[in-house]
């Protein structure tokens, strides 16, 4: 059936709540309102206030109590309302959630999911359009994933909930209303941490995730008109990285560009570039390049189109790569 990405997440969460009574959702406004993006719409009504919990307005509290619930055998799914509001929970995420399994020598599992709608492009005010994924991907003990399309949203959220490790789950908020085919009967097409070649090509590898996958696909379309065949990879997992899929692609194409909205300096593209260069040193015909947000705070919305990587900037970078 055809679903929006938002609705696919909603269905995936419903599935998770149905399959395991230890699954609970918690966050600000996730109950009667169904979340400000309606990702939990209807779940409070159907599963009740004990399973879909409206919390006080305190993010450290959301993650901290989720940790305690996990100690007690629950599988909490936290919603952080917007990317820019995850920082008050940062200590609980990086110093606690990520480390408790190791601290307790594996005796205490932390099957906690932290959902974060992220990225820009919706014309919002300050702190509502950020891309903080690198802060989490750098943290040992966490798994970090990001869905880009409805089918992945549906399956990946269920895989994240089923995972026995903490998963930071990024949702591309400006793609919530994108539609796509979802086949609930089929079973998850890929493991949680696999990248996917979403468009095969031979001349250059474009890596994106979340909101930039579509930007990459558009660039591949545009390039095709000029006779360039770009391969597009939807990274899906930001930590651990599916190095093999990217490596195999770059080994064939000899060129790599990573596209993300987060600032470039120490962003995901830096890790991907470094790692792939180590592994594909002799096949690379150009340095790994990146098209990213600028190294500035996310600007007021009237400037976000300048800030966000778009078709033209990707094409510009493709030219640059091909010119080596």
């Amino acid at each position: 059936m055809e679903l929006t990405l938002a609705k696919a997440l909603n269905s995936g969460l419903r599935k998770a709540l149905e399959s395991d009574r230890k699954v609970v959702l918690l966050g600000e406004d996730v109950g009667r309102l169904g979340g400000v993006f309606r990702i939990t719409d209807g779940l409070h009504k159907d599963f009740g206030g004990d399973r879909v919990i409206d919390t006080p307005l305190a993010e450290s509290g959301i993650v901290g109590t989720a940790i305690g619930l996990a100690f007690r055998g629950y599988r909490p799914v936290c919603e952080i309302q917007f990317d820019g509001f995850v920082y008050p929970a940062y200590d609980q995420i990086v110093a606690q959630l990520a480390k408790i399994r190791a601290r307790t020598a594996g005796r205490v599992a932390m099957p906690v999911v932290v959902r974060i709608p992220f990225g820009g492009g919706i014309g919002a005010v300050e702190h509502h359009s950020e891309s903080p994924e690198a802060y989490f991907a750098h943290t040992a003990g966490l798994r970090v994933v990001c869905c880009a399309r409805p089918s992945d949203a549906y399956w990946m959220i269920q895989q994240a909930v089923a995972c026995d490790d903490p998963v930071i789950f990024f949702e591309p908020k400006r793609r919530y209303w994108d539609k796509g085919e979802v086949d609930p009967g089929a079973g998850a097409p890929l493991p949680l941490h696999a990248a996917e070649v979403v468009r095969p090509g031979t001349d250059l590898t474009l890596v994106g995730y979340g909101p930039t996958v579509r930007v990459c696909l558009d660039a591949a379309d545009a390039a095709a008109e000029e006779g360039r065949r770009l391969e597009v990879i939807d990274l899906r997992s930001l930590s651990p990285l599916d190095t093999a899929t990217v490596r195999d692609s770059v080994a064939r194409t000899g060129r790599l560009i990573t596209v993300h909205e987060a600032p470039g300096y120490l962003g995901m593209a830096a890790e991907i570039g470094s790692r792939i260069t180590e592994e594909c040193f002799y096949s690379l015909q150009a340095p790994a390049l990146r098209v990213t947000g600028y190294d500035t705070p996310y600007p007021p919305s009237r400037l976000e189109d300048v800030y966000l990587p778009d078709l033209e900037r990707v094409m510009d970078c493709v030219e640059q790569s091909l010119s080596y």
């Binding site: 400000v36 309606r38 509290g61 209303w177 600028y294 190294d295 500035t296 007021p300 510009d316």
Partner: protein, 386 residues
């Protein structure tokens, strides 16, 4: 000086004007206003409500990305705002248009933030008020630090820190209480309890009235009727004076109600009853003051007509100004990120400039089209973005 002792029971919120507009007295808070002062308060209330309504309309018409209405909270804000003196400083959330109004911030400077032309459009030092804070509770500690600075300077001012009922749950607000108490910082914490934090009722933040928190830190906590502009003025005035005189912080809980949805993106019918809203509509802060002005013959029909006309002019002007708010240049991205030189910023600015030059002579053109339909272009879908 205000008391810090335990109360034995929760007192009624301080009131100087009852819901039907009768002047009442309170043992602790006197207020002696001239007829002009009464009228000035009324004008403030009406004008800021009109500004708020106009902004809501502008949002609906696509001129603003979002707007957070203060409807229903005018008295809570004008009372507190008019208690401020020039030497004071304010740190607030995103909904304190009435406070900003009292600080002399031109309404158009409020709109830039919501239109997306700037994160902060006014000069905090000129206004004596920091730009809006979006992170709930994030500014409370700034107010305390500013207050510590006032003390170190031996200066006379106080700080007003404004936040909502929801914000009281944030760790930072607790740390602000703690630091303010330990350092005797001249800070008045002004909590507008409007009963909702987006869809969450007060009971999701607390079991008991919020003013009580103060006792746990050893400073005075006062509950005031937030729909009574005389009471909010008198209480805030006393609290600021307490702070300025070196006695440390005070917490005020102004009990009021958010009549509008959380923001223009919100659908409040999903989580609260029309009955509740109607109940609070009956306690409208402007109607209350007007009833008093009429009863006490402090104002005549001409005055009310004049105020209405003035508010209307303000709205027309605001609309015009809003529509002509210029968009920032693309390279404004890089302005003000750092005070000193920064090689990465310089490189990126140069890259962007060169990139834009490919498209056109005038580097803004590439984006002009997109900007024009920025908000109509917005992705479809339900939501309550805050």
């Amino acid at each position: 000086m205000l008391t810090t002792h335990f109360p034995t029971r929760d007192p009624d919120p301080v009131q100087l004007l009852d819901p039907s507009g009768h002047r009442v007295t309170h043992p602790d808070y006197a207020l002696d206003l001239s007829p002009e002062e009464y009228r000035a308060l009324y004008r403030d209330l009406v004008r800021i409500r009109r500004v708020d309504a106009e902004a809501t309309t502008l949002q609906r018409q696509g001129e603003l990305g979002l707007w957070a209405s203060l409807l229903g909270q005018e008295a809570a804000q004008i009372g507190a705002g008019r208690a401020l003196r020039p030497q004071d400083f304010v740190f607030s959330s995103y909904r304190e248009h009435g406070i900003a109004w009292c600080r002399g911030v031109p309404p158009i400077d409020l709109l830039g933030f919501w239109r997306g032309t700037a994160h902060g459009s006014w000069d905090p030092y000129r206004a004596g008020m920091a730009n809006y804070q979006v992170v709930v509770g994030g500014h409370a500690l700034h107010g305390v630090g500013y207050g510590m600075g006032l003390r170190l300077d031996g200066a006379d001012g106080a700080v007003l820190v404004c936040f909502g009922d929801g914000a009281t749950s944030q760790g930072d607000v607790h740390e602000a209480f703690t630091y303010a108490a330990v350092f005797d910082a001249p800070v008045v914490f002004y909590c507008q309890n409007n009963h909702w934090a987006i869809s969450e009722p007060l009971t999701r933040q607390t079991r008991v009235p919020l003013y009580r928190r103060a006792f746990g830190y050893g400073f005075p906590g006062i509950r005031v009727d937030g729909n009574d502009v005389l009471a909010t003025l008198a209480v805030t005035d006393a609290a600021l004076e307490h702070a300025r005189s070196g006695s440390g912080p005070v917490l005020i809980e102004a009990v009021t109600y958010r009549m509008a949805p959380h923001t223009t993106s919100d659908d409040a019918t999903r989580y609260r009853s029309p009955d509740e809203v109607a109940e609070w509509a009956a306690r409208d802060p402007i109607a209350r003051l007007r009833a008093c002005l009429e009863r006490e013959a402090l104002a005549d029909d001409a005055f009310f007509a004049d105020v209405a006309a003035e508010a209307e002019r303000l709205a027309v002007q605001l609309r015009t100004e809003c529509r002509s708010l210029p968009d920032p240049r693309p390279t404004a991205l890089f302005d003000h990120v750092y005070a000193g030189p920064h090689p990465l910023i310089d490189t990126e600015r140069a890259q962007l400039t060169a990139f834009l030059d490919q498209f056109t002579d005038r580097s803004t053109d590439r984006f002009t089209d997109r900007f024009t339909d920025r908000f109509t272009d917005r992705p479809e879908g339900p939501g309550s973005w805050s």
